[in-house]
Symmetry: C2
DNA sequence: TTATTATGGATACTATAGGTCCATATTAAT
DNA sequence: ATTAATATGGACCTATAGTATCCATAATAA
């Protein structure tokens, strides 16, 4: 259970883009050398980010990438979901087992015909809760918030002189 | 980014053990058929749980597994960490890149010789925060809490009669 | 028109998850 | 002591996902 390296790369690439915002587009070469990742691999990742509307890309001379929206509207969650997919953290595999009947159906069978089998399972309930918490946190942290913190450090440095 | 099936199995097995607590040990056969998982595979998982002190095991006739401590002292986090390992959610891979210097070192180099390179990286900071939140939530939910909820449902059912 | 850049398909390698089988060790019951 | 039942651990296999490279093609600005 770990985030993939691709997510790592994507986040760093976006931070880089956010940092060079006012300049021209940033080409894959610059990104690649800044992050220390091969151009071929990184370009796949950037492609994904573009397909999901996180960045814009323009080919041709002086082309490259730029953020498709302000950095404070690109959350960590957005990036993670693009790269890792939107599958949920916990997916029940054996919902036809005897176990299942105890935890999800018993007590619901006769009581509520309104919700047909939609009675939430107790294990899933905990896990989905965990996922929600995680998502909320990741939603609240954006590329901009990283940039801001970096700037704060930088200005500390200046003040000290 | 998903929890493995093994974690799923482990959680269900523990719930089963918790449910049959006062009875004798529960053998792998019963567990296996209750969960709908092969004995061979499930036994590997149970072995891991034993090595980490979550369950006790006794071989021989009428042997089997039982919880090594009360169900309210076995958190989801405990189980997950046994099965998935204790690696952190986000592990930085390219800490020698140019990027890194911007985000983790700049502003720290001259300022603080006390903490040698221990200046926390800003991307990691967010991710570690996320992990902490997740862990806290998972720590607060135990096998017992699932059992309790199941019991609540059950008694509703009884009251209705 | 051309040089430059992104895109997407094909391919390969690797690591991990998921799963099986069997030989061995351990224990309780007889 | 013997035996039957049970857990354990090693060896092995397969499928899938992550990581990565290469190349042919498309799109764009100069
Ligand atoms: S009890 Fe929940 S997690 Fe378990 S099998 Fe049923 S739906 Fe899945
Ligand atoms: S900035 Fe943080 S996440 Fe990025 S390379 Fe440095 S330590 Fe790793």
């Amino acid at each position: 259970m770990q985030f993939s390296k691709s997510t790592d790369y994507a986040l760093h690439a976006l931070v880089h883009l956010g940092h060079s915002e006012r300049c021209n587009n940033v080409g894959i070469k610059e990104l690649s050398s800044a992050l220390g990742v091969s151009e071929s691999y990184l370009s796949k990742i950037m492609s994904k980010l573009r397909q999901d509307g996180i960045v814009r890309a323009v080919p041709g001379v002086n082309g490259g990438y730029e953020l498709a929206r302000p950095a404070d509207q690109i959350s960590f969650l957005d990036v993670i979901q693009v790269i890792e997919g939107r599958q949920q953290l916990f997916e029940c595999s054996n919902s036809s087992s005897r176990q299942h009947r105890l935890l999800a159906e018993e007590g619901a069978a006769g009581r509520d015909q309104k919700r047909p089998g939609k009675n939430e399972c107790l294990v899933e309930k905990v896990m989905n809760g965990a996922e929600q918490h995680l998502h909320q946190y990741l939603q609240e942290h954006t590329i901009q918030s990283v940039l801001d913190e970096a700037f704060k450090r930088c200005s500390h440095e200046v003040n000290k002189k």
